[in-house]
Subunit: 282 residues, 6 copies
């Protein structure tokens, strides 16, 4: 799990602090030490604390980092999530990079928690899942943030799961032919999912033996009919523009999974800041 | 500009398509060709087209890519921004990665355009600038997206510009001492900026000869007073929670710069999709 | 698909030719040109030609490379699979690296072809699949070589498919509890596979609803019984020491998949060499 | 020695465990700990233990690793070579990558030991050496494995030793001219080796002052004659298809070195596995 | 600061010691330990000790490194600057790479100290600054070495400071138009510097409001006139072929900054060597 | 040869132009084109033209680059060595990085040419060779620059050639024992070199059969005696502080090789600059 994360940390430190922090170097002596705390400035679900710890240690292995919360934990405004002690220049050099990881990942976790709560309230055991609409380079981190918020992951790449869409169906000549070709080619451990846009395609998908049927941009009424047609012969997945406000309309009985791209592509950053308790130099 | 971008493209392709696209490989023959178009599904300012082009070419150098818009251009819903022709499997393999770059960068450009428009309407020549609250690894790309939307950049790293904050002042003993140390240490080409939180500090900053004074989280009334105190002796920068809705309250006469972290950390992704015109195989 | 392969090519060229080819540089002038051919020195299934092409072009973009066979094609001893024209020093600098890729990948493809043929002869539609016992850094390439030989892939990583083994069962307390936990955690698109070692476990796996049951190191007689118990309620996978010589004993009716680690970890290299048609210098 | 190895480890972990181990994460709590042992499942010469240790530590620096054998040591079937204690999820995440390094490198060491033993039995002090037919990216590791098995290394790259082959001779006009050019160009610390295919060339090589003469694909009878011609004026190296079964035929008096490509390109993996002693969770 | 430095260390170790140190491995057993000292063989200002420490630890984390001087300190011939204890093979493997960093960086620091001393003696408070004429890949390290010697840094990249040259002026049509365009485009935190070649351009630069005026290749007499014209309206920078011998001629009253490319591009390496106190093996 | 060079180019462009060239972007429109020429501003031997070409193409593949000289060629002051046509912003973005490579590498080539000339004038056929005192990351490039100037390379790494020094002799107990151990361990293609400091050691080195004897820091008189003792039984190498001014004193009859660290570690940069012929914008 670390190699990709370490690459991102190095890219981030290089772009922010490759030349050092000239303000802090001008003002603090190199042996001046402080204690920093990262605080939530709004209620949030925190995620990325282990990454933040690595940021501080990458800048300066002699910094001591103590995590004050667990990834995935609800944190109230004003509470601290991380404490770091060591060279003041090192702490200030790491500050923005650590916060930039935390604010994005905690933003995803916090939004995921709200969707997970909505799913819980729907009472039908529906799962909210993410999509592949992630920040390039960040997929594993963002998918972990989604899980920490209580949602689930969809497939992680084009390489281990089959998802047949309109173009594939057209090229194969029919939905059933597309499923047949996929089953003949794909690993036996890959499930076959088909994206459908009409009730007729729902029927064909059931007949083809697809393990998952994705109802793309259907209205609640259409979903109701599709669920009846599928009748538990496949996992039912809803996709397309479901928002928190409209969630209850889509989380109908018989719907197993609702995918929400916004979990990763449009979660607003949450507000965290770092405070420094520093001694005056004599 | 390219080395860092190429690293991100490679990270993204590796995580999404490192094992290929098993669905498309199952269904399309390797010599099946198509024409893909990337369309705006809402009104937006597009940015990232050159990056998207590199994504397609990295997947398959034999794909032909034609950009149908310029980075920074307003694009209406339904219009195409990029056309790519070549192997169908290659086009589908590149699709999500290209879109993931475009949706984030165009989201930033689109939000920046709205702030730039608000600045224009304020009539005072104020600049809206970004911050260092960028996605780790993406700073140069995101700052370019901000510019393409009509806003401006603040400093890009801790290494070439001085920004003195509360902790630096406390450690130096006084604001003027902090400025003095910074000027003695920093390159002569670096401007000295001081973040202030009270009118008393504004006065000290002016006296210290700071070239930029950042009014942190001040109310419009306080800003009004600060501007008067500074009286054009320094560039006046406003920072802290300025939103589109409240923008006019802060874009007061005498304010030169307003920094908005949300430009990069919370711009929602815009909606783009790829369509494929593909021939049926015989 | 390219980023990882390009990394391997660069590592290989760096270790073999980072300092150039001092023998060839001593003897050939830099504008001396030749035509090289890569020949099969035994009957083989070739794989890696696109990689070999990239090796030549990475050493010298002005070399012209023409592939004389398709990846996955049977090639008889003595036949050429690639022709390259250009600077003699460039061709000789690339030679060993290109051959090192081809001999390993074609070795895997050739062994896979023999297993695929054995599967075909068994008459039961059984699939031979690879494992995760691949060369570190080479997984995608080796899995593609397996497919090109006519076998199939098993899961590619620990991250997108569930495989429950003895330790997981022990930790969960029971096989059915392990399956239950996995289904509750894993993406809905992941199949659940269970590795079993006794007929009792086979029964439990069927009852748990596992989609794939792996019979680990069972004798043909045990397999026969297990197949009957499973009765098409799950995909039946055989694992453990199946060799070409004993293949027919295991490819019993009702067996869907046989996994063979040797496809990737012990395929002997095939013999290929490069010849050079070079003009005498005047 | 570490930078290249660390690159391979990161590539391997990324491809196997970039997304984590979803099975183990589903079933084990994150604070569940175990003790893992890596066992030889056949008699073998172990190599790669230091690499395996780095794999575990890269996954999780808090794992404790204890090596139970030395690289290059003979290990009997059933004996443990490495013990690791720590988070169960971490141990299972590292398992396959660690084994994939060990099985290949120990396979090379084990085959090298058999050739070294054959050389010892020949009684003539002949060395068995490897070639540049190594796995791209793995050269330093594979050459170390060869040494650990008791064989020796040939040149490691095209850049520090001269090896004149048929094409070079043809281009230079004569063997002696080729040697002359090489000596004029190459570092004074590089030995000049010539590959010869006939007794006439052997004579020319001796006259040219070549320090090493490689007899390419000669029969034992030809080798006998060549050795007499050379008469200790150069190191005598035999190359071309020498196998363990035919080794004694080639290890004739006067032969100094026999190169065997199969040491690195076709050594079958040896069988190692990891067992886990894990406590039941309460 | 570390990621880029670590990349250089890895490149260096790979090229020098990727295959190990065959001489030391031949002669020392792997558990033979020694104490190494790095000594100044001439009077010098040392810089790079932290880098050297990382080199030893990268080769072998079990080596103990003790720094005997601070970066930037004057060290007399014969004095030790670093002591390392541990495996003899590790110490000898790291030796040349550690020295190669130290000799270059200390060379830069030593030359910078001489220029800083010359500046001090001029009595006018002039700063000597570096340029962007640095070794590709080494900019941050070389700029830190310059500072450690007592000189200052000029801008670090093309991206955060404006420097208008002849071509820009020609393209814009006039100096004032070039300044105007730059001010409209560049971040508000960037100073505007203009390179001028005549007194007429000096006047234009002052009128344009440039914050820094670089007098390019002017004679002391011209500089004298330019200083008078500028009259403290801008920072005065001298550029072009100033050497230690001619320094006093240029460090005239009113000159604020003198830039010297030779600080980084032509500082001769200083002489350091490593000695080893090693026990005889029994 | 390219992978390592490309890494350096990317590091250099990232540090100089990762954020673009804000001055040129402010002033030139993106479609403004120019013709750039790189000129020698002193007499020099040029080296690095192929690298410079890659720099321009890496910044912008649409730039056309024409080399006007060959690497290794003498170029008179005022002559152009490279012409590039394309986007003005691209040319200016690449300028400093291209020059930074050329000025260092041509500096090495130019100094090497002077030593090569001194060697030629000595009339004894002595070779001047480099050392491993190279810039970390740059070894292959710097060694190529040395060759282009007419000097030769010594060993390139610790891994393919044996060089026995004082510590090795002490550890082995005697010089002959050290040679014996090295010969038993090292590849048969590695020559054995011994560094000696006295005539007694010279005698021992000859007796041990060392192929190269390095006379370390000996006076011309001692060298004269050593040459007589060695009497062509080994290659004679002189090392230690030989400068151009004292070269003739050391290039005595019987001396084969003189190694000069300054070739790579202290060659001053030569002076090159880029001029731009650019059209005025309308």
């Amino acid at each position: 799990m670390h190699p990709r994360t370490d690459t991102l940390i190095d890219l981030a430190l290089e772009e922010d602090a490759g030349l050092g922090d000239i303000t802090s170097q001008a003002i603090f002596s190199s042996d001046h030490v402080s204690t920093a705390q990262i605080l939530a400035r709004e209620d949030l679900v925190v995620f990325g604390l282990e990454v933040a710890r690595r940021v501080f240690l990458r800048v300066d292995p002699s910094v001591t980092v103590c995590l004050l919360a667990d990834d995935g934990e609800n944190v109230n405004k004003g509470n601290a999530v991380l404490r770091a002690e060591g060279s003041t220049v090192s702490l200030l050099t790491a500050e923005r990079t650590a916060l930039n990881f935390l604010q994005r990942l905690s933003g995803i976790a916090s939004l995921s928690r709200r969707f997970a709560e909505a799913a819980r309230q729907s009472g039908h055991g529906v799962r909210v899942v993410d999509t592949r609409k992630t920040t390039p380079g960040w997929r594993a981190l963002e998918k972990a943030a989604v899980r920490s918020g209580g949602c689930f992951n969809h497939r992680s790449s084009l390489g281990e799961h089959v998802l047949i869409k309109e173009n594939h169906i057209a090229a194969a000549g029919s939905l059933s032919e597309a499923v047949k070709r996929a089953r003949a080619f794909a690993p036996h451990c890959a499930k076959i999912e088909v994206e459908v846009e009409s009730l007729q395609e729902v029927r064909q998908a059931v007949e083809s033996g697809a393990e998952i049927i994705m109802l793309d941009n259907m209205s609640p009424a259409q979903i109701h009919q599709a669920v009846a047609l599928i009748d538990q012969a496949a996992i039912v997945e809803i996709s397309g523009g479901v928002r928190l406000e409209t969630f209850a309309d889509y989380a109908l009985p018989g719907v197993d999974v609702i995918s929400v791209g916004a979990l990763t592509h449009s979660a607003p950053a949450v507000d965290l800041s770092m405070t420094l308790a520093t001694e005056l130099e004599n």
